[in-house]
């Protein structure tokens, strides 16, 4: 296992410069909430939906909740959670949104909790950007910009690459 950890770290270190050039991290703030690197993936030609991912950090002393999202890109944006349990992939909406406890960080990423942009007006192309408005129960609304990465892009943090055997992806 330590060997595996080393190779993960090494892979992350090797991958880092590439991720800097292709998709530099960017972040947004509203009140106590920091939204780190909203990104999406290029979609197949006629994909009826697109995913959306970012890291939410609550620097406040009260819990907050991401309740809804709107975007000119899509007719509707939902918050979903994907799981793979016993070999079966499932996806369920989270109608109550995502809670971010005080001082905590929540990652939205492929195969786990993610945004789903329904019926995007155009296929997403790597390198493009699109806007969205995130609404938090307490912090309020914030405009963010999603960066479209490659179709097989993965989160940029090392720990999110591994140890999610029970998650989809």
């Amino acid at each position: 296992l330590p060997f595996r950890l080393h190779s993960i770290l090494l892979a992350a270190m090797l991958a880092w410069p590439a991720s800097l050039t292709s998709a530099a991290a960017h972040e947004f703030e509203i009140g106590d909430i920091v939204i780190d690197h909203p990104w999406s993936r290029a979609t197949p030609a006629v994909a009826p939906s697109a995913g959306g991912y970012f890291t939410l950090t609550n620097n406040g002393t009260e819990p907050d909740r991401l309740v809804s999202i709107t975007s000119p890109l899509a007719e509707r944006v939902e918050i979903h959670e994907s799981t793979v349990v016993d070999g079966v992939a499932r996806m369920r909406p989270l109608p109550d949104g995502v809670e971010i406890a005080a001082g905590e960080t929540v990652e939205l990423q492929p195969g786990q909790i993610h945004l789903m942009f329904l019926r995007p007006s155009a296929p997403l192309v790597e390198g493009e950007r699109f806007d969205a408005t995130l609404s938090f129960e307490k912090a309020g609304d914030v405009e963010v910009e999603f960066m479209v990465q490659g179709m097989g892009a993965r989160p940029t943090t090392a720990e999110s690459h591994e140890d999610h055997g029970e998650h989809a992806q």
């Binding site: 030609a45 994909a47 697109a50 016993d86 079966v88 369920r92 492929p110």
Partner: protein, 204 residues
Amino acid sequence: MRFLRHIRIAAWMAVAIVGGLVIGLTVLAPDRPGIATNIASSGPSGIGGPFTLTSHRGETVDNESLTGKPYLAFFGFTHCPDICPTTLFELTDLAQELGEDADRLNVLFITVDPERDTQELLDAYMTSFDRRFLAVRGTQAETDAVVAAFAAYAQKVPLEGDSYTMDHTAGVYMMDAEGGFVGTLDMHEPRDTRVQKLRRLIGA
């Protein structure tokens, strides 16, 4: 004391045999039976029944047309933004790594959502992936049959309004040239391991 010595030798031999079996089974067992418990629980013999589907290009794809080449098969649907395009994308990457050798392999993306995944939609969808891959669909009855043939699972789940999602088996099945189940391709494994497995499957 010769007798005792014989017993000791026999005991060590037993240890060696059992140990060998354990190692052998660990090495030979499908790499991750858990990737689709359905596969594990029904065993390899439960996979590979007859099915007939139609590809995004309009050809009939059935057990007979697939015979002669090993193939990969996995279940999905285009309204899935997350897992399905990722699997197709990663398989595209592996096929490109194999280059012409990948001609000796068929890759089937079997939709579990024939209602929304029309042939026309699949045809446009597949332009984003390796052109050798086939998206295949059937009537609801044909879809049920292929799910059963792979001892897989697919279930429509209603969502708010008139929309729905599909729960489905997530693994990638590796099948030999006679349509026999070989094992599953674990997309979490290192890329090199997956490439090697595919090379082994096609005998390259």
